[in-house]
Amino acid sequence: MNGFSIADCTTVNAALSQLKDGAVVKAGGVDLLDRMKDGIQQPDRLVNIRNVAELRGIRETDQGLTIGPLATLAEISDHPHIREHYQILADACGHAATPHIRNMATVGGNLLQHVQCWYYRSSDFQCIRHGKDLCFAFEGLNQYHAIMEYSTCPSVAPSSAAVALLGLGASVELTSAKRGKRTLGIRDLYIVPDANPTKFTVIEPDELITAILIPKPAPGTRSAYQKYGEKESFDWAIADAGVVLEMDGDICKRAVITMGAASPVVRRSSQAEAALVGKPINEETARAAGKVSVEGATPLSQNAYKLDLFPVAVYRTVLLAAGKMDRDPSAAG
């Protein structure tokens, strides 16, 4: 790790005023310090926002829910209102990483973590994400990589929280000292590597996430998220699924199906959603949705097995959301 200075801030304004000259925001420090220790990011200056009280907290509003970006994954997954009305988010935050990390990691930092591709994370490989010419995964070891929607870089979206927030139609409020506030949907937060491989999000160096806004779910909404890994404890997803169902009696009125570990940026599967809308939720329809969730996938040399996993993740999570199946003991965490 390189040497650096750190500015400790206790207010949003103080933090914003420090965001200049290449300074990097540090919240929980979980992913940032990993990147610094791995030598793939070497900032001279960190701005510590962990003690900014106004960025903490989870508040119910008339429109839904406002979550401070410094809320920890543990706080979110333990929150009674979230557990009751936003199960998908409680699931995603509650099954990330380990209990220790969930106590430290903030939801804002979780959304902004970089991909886990081992080539990107190694200072021995200077890949396209670091502004060089090569992606090493295409011809190298790619068992954990993407099966769809990649052409430049097949690393996969690392944030479970993003899979849930995309499902809930959440947005992110960004604030800069110069330009004020702007609000973006979760999908618009991320830059696909085909557009710009060296940038992961649209957040500018002088911007902070100041709130995460989740609309109130329509009546009859049920949701769930499940993640599958090679291990149960402390593993990254090899397949995952977020499901939000708006039910009208037995019939599914609206469905949102989201996936993380399939593509470089979190995605919705419109095919899977279409397979459910207007139908009752049962094993047959859930499996049909699972099957089409990998339509058009183009696996790499070592990850065709994911074509088997995602349909299972989707169908079991659809049934879990609908209350027709217990939480899957095979799901991680």
Partner: protein, 796 residues
């Protein structure tokens, strides 16, 4: 594994020591317990009864240092801080195969805080050419793997050391490389060495044979034969053959390799994370050409070894050299990446195993053709189980090491055996299916070991085994349950360099000293228990001093030798000290030594000359301030008997056939280790072996990028290792198996402890669940789904 079966030549020349004949318990209580006579040195203590009649030995006494470790007060090597200590950092090769043209250290030497730079002239651990001339004159060691240490920097802070190390410029002349072991066997593959090369084993084993031929990268075969296998397969009613592949596993101990070296003119003191204080001392004294008396090695607490921590190694030698150069203590602890790359691993295996048997299960032939890679080292042989677990009319094993450009292998917990048993015990399971025999009946026929026979009986009667559905793959639904078993074998190695000193002080306090290091197996506690048993005082009152070469030489902890080698020396010293003590105090009580006995913490007169008095009060009558007795290990009483031991492990799994995911639910582990000295500690080692074995079987995998020759997962995040949720309910049944070999009759457990057999037990359980065999590890979803798909089609 230290093998010193022959007594010192000097001992042989003096008159044979007086002997006495004793009766000893032999066998398993409740099953086969009987008495056998042994002729033993007259100085040996009385024979202990079985554990049920002992007060402290054989009891689950609380781990002597458990609270210190759990509360963070135990000082490990990585906790050592000395005044003026410098921090050292290695510079490691960034390419997998190269000659080093030049090393420019100028910028690093000028960097603020840097006190010394050392360039490695002789790298340790790699195999070495039989004929070094083949490589010509090289200025620096040839780089044979990415991560090989090249130089090191010592600085006043770890940050300065790291930053300065990055400034050292190494110019490489790149050479072609190979990191795939199958590709490396090809005649056209780049050669890791220009000729035959060998790696010496350590006190923990490892290393390959040095008398075999080498063709390209293939070092071998090492051949073992008995009988005529061609005839054996002709005689067979059933033959099974299959191909098995296991991956490279790294040791991944919690505490990485490292030392703090403090070079003073009169003494080099080294705090080392090691499994053998004496081996570190020997290597440093040899390397720097200084007397053994000028080197002191200290290992108070040890954060895990598993076979890779013997000798000073590159970290020890480099830290000592930097300390000598700078005149300050130097700390050199590896980081996690270095730990994966440069200090050992369990070699891979690629085995074709063929077994023939008669209808009744009698084995007629075993043939094993094995390849495996220990990187740029040797030691991938894995025929131990095939050679030693079963009786067979004929046997032919061929073991080959395959060199690749990766870090050298090292002994790792039962070297070769988890790999070998993975193939052997699955093949036996398959043979049982083919012969329509129960897997336990087949083993009863083919395995004559008397203790495993008892262990199989315990398994047969267990609820877990009874719950096994003998029809494979019969569960409905996507999640299928299965139960499978496998056996293990390990060997009785004795380290004769095992000594202890027992001191009785006039205040009644008791002390036992040995240079032995407690690497977590709990030998400290066991030493206290032995003195407690002898003197009748609670173990907590015994002072135990270990992990320091200033004490009498102790065994190095490899090959499961520690407890079985050292405890007889401790007991002999305690016994002889007690006899000396009684003789010393007898005059003060107006009697003679033969009238006195020491029982339950009291000195008693057998003739009733005085009412019993406490040991402590009796000690105050000692004629001097201290009685000290040094004892060394007496050879095994009957070294031709009971040479192997082992166990039977049963796994219950659930296989999610849609996801290819294996969940190990329960494990029943039935094991023997002679007299269990402290059952809780023994069980703890077996728990550890099971967990490490599950981790090997399902998760761990050193992954090397084939095109660049670099490890892509040198951490504990993408190098996946079992966590708390992967650990099943483990039921250990410890079998007391007396063998009449020493004054304590202890055996080892570290290697036999489940790690050998659990992989095959899981694989056999997966077969029982699904009807499909998974013949490669780690059994990830990708691997299991592929097996289900291809074999499912064959079945349909």
């Amino acid at each position: 594994m230290t093998k010193e079966p022959i007594e010192d030549a000097i001992t042989a020349q003096v008159a044979a020591p007086a002997k006495k004949t004793v009766q000893m318990p032999v066998g398993v209580p409740g099953y086969t317990l009987a008495e056998e006579s042994r002729s033993v040195p007259a100085t040996e203590p009385p024979v202990w009864p079985t554990n049920k009649d002992l007060k402290y030995v054989g009891q689950s006494i609380e781990r002597y240092d458990g609270q210190l470790k759990a509360s963070g007060r135990a000082r490990y090597t990585s906790d050592i801080q000395l005044p003026g200590m410098l921090y050292a950092k290695f510079v490691n090769a960034t390419v997998p195969h190269a000659k080093i043209v030049s090393i420019d250290t100028a910028a690093a030497e000028k960097y603020p805080g840097v006190k010394g730079v050392h360039v490695i002239q002789h790298v340790l651990g790699n195999a070495e050419l039989r004929n070094p001339a083949l490589e010509g004159q090289v200025k620096y060691p040839v780089v044979r793997y990415a991560g090989q240490p090249i130089a090191a920097v010592a600085a006043t802070t770890p940050y300065a050391a790291e930053e300065a190390a990055a400034l050292i410029k190494v110019k490489y002349q790149a050479m072609p490389f190979v990191v795939d072991d199958v590709e490396a066997r090809h005649p056209d593959a780049p050669n890791v060495f220009p000729g035959a090369a060998d790696e010496a084993g350590s006190a923990g084993g490892g290393g390959g044979p040095n008398d075999v031929k080498q063709t390209g990268n293939v070092h071998g075969p090492s051949v073992h034969k008995h009988g005529d296998t061609e005839q054996g397969f002709k005689d067979a009613d059933a033959v099974v053959e299959a191909h098995y592949v296991t991956q490279v596993q790294t040791h991944s101990a919690l505490e990485t390799h490292g030392v703090v070296a403090d070079w003073k003119p009169d003494l080099l003191t080294v705090y080392a994370s090691t499994q053998g204080t004496s081996g570190v001392r020997e290597e440093l004294a040899g390397f720097f050409k200084i007397p053994l008396t000028k080197v002191r090695v200290i290992t108070e607490y040890m954060g895990g070894g598993f076979g890779a921590k013997f000798g000073a190694g590159n970290p020890g030698v480099v830290a000592a050299a930097l300390s000598k150069k700078t005149g300050a203590p130097v700390r050199l602890m590896l980081d996690r990446s270095e730990e994966h790359l440069s200090v050992g691993n369990r070699p891979s295996s690629d085995q074709v195993l063929r077994i023939g048997a008669k209808k009744d299960g009698t084995l007629t032939a075993i043939h094993l053709l094995a390849y495996g890679t220990a990187g740029c080292g040797t030691g991938a042989g894995c025929a131990g189980p095939a050679q030693n677990l079963y009786q067979t009319a004929s046997l032919h094993t061929e073991e080959n090491d395959v060199f690749i450009n990766a870090g050298p292998g090292a002994a790792m917990r039962a070297p070769g055996h988890p790999q070998g048993a993975f193939a052997l015990e699955q093949t036996m399971d398959e043979l049982a299916v083919k012969l329509s025999m129960d897997p336990i009946d087949l083993r009863d026929k083919a395995d004559s070991h008397p203790v495993r026979r008892v262990e199989r009986q315990i398994v047969r009667e267990s609820d877990l085994w009874k719950s096994r559905n003998p029809v494979a793959g019969s569960d409905k639904g996507p999640v299928k349950r299965g139960v499978g078993l496998a056996q293990s074998v390990w060997y009785r190695f004795v380290s004769m360099g095992s000594n202890a000193e027992v001191r009785i002080h006039k205040d009644g306090s008791l002390e036992v000293l040995s240079a032995v290091q407690d690497i977590g197996s709990g030998v400290r506690t066991v030493m206290a228990q032995i003195l407690a048993e002898q003197f009748g005082v609670p173990p907590s009152q015994i002072s135990v001093k270990v992990g320091d070469t200033t004490y009498p030489e102790g065994p190095q902890s490899g090959g499961s030798v520690t407890t079985l080698s050292l405890t007889p020396a401790v007991r002999d010293a305690a016994w002889q000290a007690s006899q000396k003590f009684l003789a010393d105090i007898a005059p003060a009580f107006g009697t003679t030594a033969d009238d006195l006995v020491l029982i339950d913490g009291e000195v008693r007169s057998q003739s009733g000359k005085f009412t019993p008095i406490s040991f402590k009060r009796a000690a105050s009558k000692m004629s001097s301030s201290q009685i000290a007795v040094h004892a060394k290990r007496v050879p095994d009483y009957d070294p031709k008997k009971y040479l192997t031991y082992g166990g039977v492990d049963v796994a219950e799994v659930e296989v999610d056939t849609e996801l290819g995911r294996i969940h190990v639910r329960r494990v029943l582990s039935v094991h023997d280790c002679g007299r269990p000295m402290n059952p809780a500690q023994t069980i703890s080692q077996i728990n550890g072996g099971i967990i490490q074995g599950i981790s090997f079987t399902l998760f761990e995998n050193r992954l090397l990028d084939p095109k660049y020759g670099l490890m892509v997962n040198p951490d504990l995040e993408q190098y996946k290792i079992a966590g708390s949720r992967e650990i099943p309910e483990i039921d250990v049944r410890l079998v007391e198996a007396y063998i009449g070999q020493s004054s304590t009759d202890a055996s080892g457990i570290g290697e036999a402890a489940g790690v050998v057999s659990i992989g095959a037990a899981i694989a056999n359980a997966v077969y029982n669940a699904t009807g499909v065999r998974v013949r490669s590890t780690p059994m990830t979803p990708a691997v299991v789904l592929a097996a289900l798909r291809t074999q499912g089609k064959e079945m349909a």
